[in-house]
Symmetry: C2
Subunit: 144 residues, 2 copies
DNA sequence: TTGAAATTGAGAATCAGTCTCAACAAAATT
DNA sequence: AATTTTGTTGAGACTGATTCTCAATTTCAA
């Protein structure tokens, strides 16, 4: 579970496990899919817990460092995150009409990328693939 | 040539071909590879031409609209652009040590992505693949 | 050449994200 | 348990990229 990992991570670095950090992590773990710092902040406030944007951003950075969450993408409206603990690595299709994100994964695609890296003498660590276009629903809408 | 395309694009929309816009486009076309708005702005000033950040940003947006350049990536230090007129579609490897960008292209990879889209009923329009890791040079440095 | 309409540039405004610092809380020490 | 040490918090200041505002200027069609 994420809590254990985070506590361990914090303690290893002489950092502290605080109510605020726990609240933020809990909120992330309890909601599915992608999220952004601002709505996370608002959700926590809504719950009646006190927090600040500064703490949310600080905690998100810590969670990234310990690998529990990942920065998916920077947009014009800020950064989108997702939690990695739950699901494995995957790539994204982003509908340019409705903003919906479809996750997908292909072993072949991963292997192929490794091959490309080897050919360039590049040591790959991670990657992001985003395919932009139109999802099923929005294609239909367009036709009408 | 890019100038023609840009002029046509501007006229079609009742926009004007100005010295400033021409200077910005020229500077972009005359330099290879990726660029960011701030250094573009500084380069133009350096040449003794007068311009403003506002104009640079405005022109970059126009050039994106008409397809002459593309937003490659948003980073914590701003947006990186590249001009599309010159080279074909390609993907990127980004060295996390030195920031160097390696361009690569794989037909197989493209086909594979098309396949993934089809399987999801997704109509792909464009995509970005970024592999992060360490380039040859930086791998060597690390060993020592 | 002229004038309506678009463009420019300087600086204000905006917005995500970080930093500052005094008040506070957790862990360590007594 | 009380005290000291050290990390954390939150409010708001700050930063840096980008956009907006608006008066002055430039373009271009007639």
């Amino acid at each position: 579970m994420g809590k254990r990992i985070f506590s361990k991570f914090l303690k290893e670095r002489g950092k502290r496990v605080t109510k605020e950090r726990e609240a933020i992590l809990q909120k992330i773990l309890s909601s599915r899919g992608h999220f952004d710092p601002e709505s996370l902040y608002l959700k926590i406030k809504e719950m009646g817990l006190k927090t600040s944007r500064a703490s949310v951003y600080r905690t998100l950075n810590l969670l990234c460092e310990c690998g529990l969450i990942e920065r998916v993408k920077k947009t014009e409206h800020g950064t989108i995150y997702e939690h990695t603990s739950v699901h494995e690595h995957h790539d994204h299709m982003l509908c340019m009409e409705c903003g919906n994100i479809i996750e997908f994964y292909s072993e072949t695609l991963e292997k192929l990328q490794e091959g490309m890296c080897k050919r360039q003498g590049f040591q790959g660590v991670s990657h992001t693939l985003e395919i932009r276009g139109y999802c099923k629903k929005c294609q239909k809408k367009k036709r009408t």
